[in-house]
């Protein structure tokens, strides 16, 4: 299995994703420079990592979505390629229209870096298939604009279609207001497109995947991808 990690100017979790994919999961992994719009067909999965691409200036993802690589990413998505956007990568996929909704500033107006609990809502996606339904994954968040928004109609369509993958929850997996770190509508932490080949998530699975730390819940996301591609 071969993975690509896209590097935008200002990406800063690119090395972390690369490290987990290559050194922890043992996958063949390559960098993809944002100015490169060559086809991505050689990859089984492409990751858009976290960070502050283009400084998050104007709006996170607003400028990055015009990088040449996004043409290739869009073609790849349309062909059914697996794309995982984490944090800033999620923001870019939203701006590019590859995922529904938008991200607003956190309710607290502050950047928040801390571990939170999320509950797996559906396992019928390539990104969650090796999770148990309603399993609780403890994953770190680190963002200032992670307050997910979509209008009621879109939310309904996403719910009907199983496009909500993770919601913020308490340690027992209950989706409560108190467990919502940033004000996201319906505690939404991760979503997929209709076809389920593109996923965006605010929590950082790559920060909970190296066994050097006690928590490796984030491996579930990568393991799911590996299984889906193998099958």
């Amino acid at each position: 299995m071969k993975c690509g990690v896209v590097v935008f100017p200002g990406s800063n979790c690119d090395h972390d994703c690369y490290h987990i994919l290559k050194h922890i999961l043992g996958l063949s992994t390559e960098w993809i420079w944002h100015k490169d719009d060559a086809d991505l067909d050689r990859f089984d999965a492409v990751v858009l990592p976290g960070g502050f691409s283009f400084g998050d200036y104007l709006r996170p993802g607003a400028i990055s979505r015009f990088s040449p690589v996004m043409k290739a990413v869009t073609r790849y998505a349309n062909k059914g390629g697996h794309i995982l956007g984490i944090c800033n990568g999620f923001q870019i996929l939203l701006e590019a229209g590859l995922l529904p909704g938008a991200l607003l500033t956190n309710r607290s107006q502050k950047f928040i870096c801390k571990p939170v609990a999320t509950v797996v809502e559906t396992t019928e996606t390539p990104f969650t298939r090796s999770c148990k339904k309603n399993a609780v994954l403890k994953l770190p968040i680190a963002h200032k604009q992670g307050n997910y928004f979509a209008d009621t109609e879109t939310l309904q369509r996403m719910a009907d279609n199983g496009q909500v993958l993770l919601r913020y929850a308490d340690a027992a997996g209950q989706v409560t207001e108190a467990a919502n770190p940033n004000g996201s509508v319906g505690n939404i932490a991760a979503v997929a497109n209709e076809r389920k080949n593109v996923m965006g998530m605010m929590p950082h699975p790559e920060r909970a995947a190296d066994p050097l730390w006690p928590n490796v819940d984030g491996q579930a996301i990568f393991q799911s991808l590996i299984e889906s591609i193998a099958s």
Binding site: L104, Q109, N147, A150
Partner: protein, 82 residues
């Protein structure tokens, strides 16, 4: 030519920053404040385009980059003297 562009949240989109400013103003004793919305204001200097062209170009910039039309709306004026 100077384009003056206002980008604001659409109705129905909760504006967390506006809410926070509202809160802060009330806390500072500005109790007359009933509502606050916070948007962006851009000034873009253009050269070598006619007024009609500018009209078209600026709306294009807004659609493409300056506003996220999922959550934001925009309006602009053009000032040919500036």
């Amino acid at each position: 030519m100077l384009a003056k562009i206002h980008v604001t949240f659409k109705n129905g989109v909760l504006d967390p920053q506006g809410k926070a400013v509202h809160h802060a103003l009330n806390d500072l004793g500005f109790n007359e404040v009933r509502d606050v919305t916070l948007g962006k204001y851009l000034e873009i200097k253009l050269e070598g385009v006619s007024a009609e062209e500018a009209e078209h170009r600026v709306s294009d910039m807004c659609e493409k980059l300056l506003a996220n039309t999922v959550i934001e709306s925009y309006r602009y004026t053009l000032d040919p003297t500036d």
